[in-house]
Symmetry: C2
Subunit: 362 residues, 2 copies
Amino acid sequence: MNAAPTPHLAIDLERMQANIARVAEAATERGIALRPHAKTHKTVEIGRMQVAAGAHGLSVATVGEAEVFAAAGLDDLFIAYPLWIDAAKAARLSAMTARGASVSIGVDSVEGVARLVHAGLAGRVAVRVEVDAGHHRSGCAPAAAGEVASAAARAGVDIEGVFSFPGHAYAPGARERAARDEAEALRVAADSMRAAGVPPQVISGGSTPSFAAALEIDSPVTELRPGVSVFGDAQQWELGTMAPEHVALTCHATVVSHAGGRLVLDAGSKVLGPDRAAWSTGHGRLLDHPEARIVQLSEHHAVVELPGVTTAALPALGSVVRVVPNHVCTAVNLVDELFVYDRGDDADPSARWSVAARGRNT
Amino acid sequence: MNAAPTPHLAIDLERMQANIARVAEAATERGIALRPHAKTHKTVEIGRMQVAAGAHGLSVATVGEAEVFAAAGLDDLFIAYPLWIDAAKAARLSAMTARGASVSIGVDSVEGVARLVHAGLAGRVAVRVEVDAGHHRSGCAPAAAGEVASAAARAGVDIEGVFSFPGHAYAPGARERAARDEAEALRVAADSMRAAGVPPQVISGGSTPSFAAALEIDSPVTELRPGVSVFGDAQQWELGTMAPEHVALTCHATVVSHAGGRLVLDAGSKVLGPDRAAWSTGHGRLLDHPEARIVQLSEHHAVVELPGVTTAALPALGSVVRVVPNHVCTAVNLVDELFVYDRGDDADPSARWSVAARGRNT
């Protein structure tokens, strides 16, 4: 390779399809519904493959993302966010449902319910109550789910269920604990909703790191929403959630310098994303050189160390290497197109897909 | 405020124009030419204002950025990067110069010179030799500048000068030291080029943090290339390079939750950028609450702590706050439009500018 100009984000189609199938089978075997989080790929073609593989709809992060997928006919959507509804957002949501989309949204407070009702959305969108399972971001206390749900029910809002995002699974050794925290939070929340006379139809859990654990333990979840699992990334590799041979998205980058006996690549934070968790071993990795680490990342340069490799043995100047971004959701959000390679080592892409929901932050 | 949907990136036009004027005057007073780095704003309207204020051209990071500005008539351009020239890049560069643009590019090795010549660019683009001033990214050793320049001269390539980027100025207390390192590296490099019979016409230094120091010390620089100074950001605020009253770009974000006695905002890493230097005090700050810190940042949520502020005294649910991103270059690269407010506290934007060079990574 490489005919397409670097840097660009490249999908290994064979691997991606295998990732989609593996996750779908694991969920189906246990009778769990799948609603993959499309914020990871933001791409209509990939959403269609997930639904064809058995997903019963998609999760999205914003109204803007929902609009893109709904317009493409992928219109069974859950906006997994406690939206603050103003008149403009209400009008956009109403327009989507008027065209036949099924849209549910997150809510985590009685005030949020009141706004939604005030904006005229009762009967137009369903809600799911968000509860905090230990990530401490948004979401009400699990025991308060019944109060939020009954406020919604009294106001004529459809209650679809309850959900959480166990983001604290994003740390080494944390995924089983986070899955158990989530199971317990959702159990408490569901009980609270039943006691309030508003039993949840859907009990939804999230996250790629906690996905496998959530399937193994005794959990009340009826639906899961993994996002990153479609591609994998260096974080999942280092968390042990996905092996490097499952990584289906890389950045093709050209070696532009051997300065200091290291590789300098033409890919920086503006295509890889600058994410670096405290526990990450670097700013990203090379798929074909597991020992390599990006030790320095600027906007258009990555400096890569290959321990024990002499300058003469480095990948040659002008050659193309495959970089695994730390956090694939961030990387995808930087580009307008994904280059599709039928197999990872093909010389040329067979297609380019538009990242149609890129930058839809509102 | 706020009529425009949140989150969005908002320019305070009055402050931005003052930043442009202040930097231009400081350079002009000392007889230093200015070539601001347009990778920060990627916006034609802002490039035009910089040139109108006295900049003698723009710096850019990629061929794609150069194409956008050249097409808008801002065609005195330096691509401050040791480009690895392939046939496609050579054709694009030639097309720009054939249309009358003046384009110079970085080169940091004899091999790079050879590729450029092989690609037929001798006589079409000028080069500047990049030297490493202590940031240890790209750039040859300062004493090797003469060797690279004379290889270029022998091959009939125009040598415009020498440049460096003192990126190690991005740390607390480091800017004076970095400016001195850069001055010394450029002095050695310029001497090496003179000794090789290829004296530099332009001796160019970079970086917003080192800008003021570079003007104060005895330095051989004839040109400076600050980027961030047009907007400022939380990094510059914390480095002491720009005061908060000079911050001219913020993200307008809505308070969506008070969960845990903290603010949860509808702006996350997908609009603020995930950059966080080891020395940053958080994931970003609030312009109107200097004591506040973003303590947790997800893709579409920021969690903000305001020490000593009770929940009742927090900015109200549904209100809009102004977030200062850690690294403004990364934030701007996430959005398709910048919302222009004539004054920072205006209720409505007076214009929207296209981030025309966004995502031009190749």
